[in-house]
């Protein structure tokens, strides 16, 4: 058990315009197989990745919001969102998708693991992480 590390995936890019958001999601899904303690942090344009209502039917791209919604099933325990980044973009937590989490062994449930945090919390959460992957 001592091999379990605290991983954080740091997402700072908007979805669709570049490949960063998609690559991050792929690595998170692959990493889920390794039983680590996984958190995601969304800041700057990365907060746009979680805005609900995306419709990619006219742009011939894969809509990956449905995949984000399943992250709780892939061992992701926290999805933090920098509050100031939301505010600068005219967004609130009401604009974001909700992601549920459940521990299949203990049946512990959390309705929504998407959580806005302020700058001090962002810094602390990143400092507490043992590995930070940047996208």
């Amino acid at each position: 058990m001592s091999d379990i590390k605290k991983f954080m995936y740091l997402n700072r890019r908007a979805p669709y315009g570049t490949i960063y958001a998609w690559e991050s999601l792929e690595v998170v899904l692959i990493g889920a197989a390794f039983d680590q303690e996984v958190s995601l942090m969304f800041m700057d344009d990365g907060v746009f990745q979680l805005v609900k209502g995306s419709d990619t039917s006219a742009s011939d791209m894969k809509n990956f919001l449905p995949t984000y919604r399943t992250l709780g099933d892939y061992g992701v325990r926290h999805m933090y969102v920098d509050k100031a980044s939301l505010e600068a973009r005219g967004l609130t937590s009401d604009d974001l998708i909700e992601v549920a989490w459940e521990d299949f062994e203990t049946e512990e449930e959390v309705d929504n693991i998407v959580e806005p945090v302020d700058a001090d919390q962002v810094a602390q959460l990143m400092a507490e992480s043992e590995v930070v992957f940047s996208f």
Binding site: D44, V51, G53, A58, A88, G90
Partner: protein, 102 residues
């Protein structure tokens, strides 16, 4: 006649939109595409800059890119015109040339 300026980067990450606005002449058309469409959103840190530009320039945003990024009509800055791919072609045809801000 005037020029069509396309912007495909988020105004929160790069200064492409700011530069397009600063270095385009009155009467120009500015078309927001790809991540550039974030500049069309109401209530953001970039809204004031875009509204100022609309005093003497026309601003457009591409519908398919707005849709993918969940930017609905009620989120758009008033006065921004949404165009589809055919509308993009019309803008290209109606202007002297296209200048891309990357």
């Amino acid at each position: 006649m005037a020029d069509l300026h396309t912007v495909n980067k988020s105004p929160f990450e790069k200064n492409s939109l700011e530069a397009a606005i600063k270095f385009s002449q009155a009467g120009s058309a500015i078309l927001l595409i790809e991540d550039g469409v974030y500049g069309a959103m109401k209530g953001t840190a970039a809204e004031g800059m875009v509204k100022d530009a609309m005093g003497d320039k026309k601003v457009y945003a591409l519908k398919s890119d707005l849709m993918a990024r969940a930017i609905k009509d009620d989120r758009l800055i008033d006065g921004i015109e949404v165009v589809d791919y055919a509308g993009f072609v019309d803008l290209v045809e109606a202007n002297d040339k296209v200048q891309a801000w990357l």
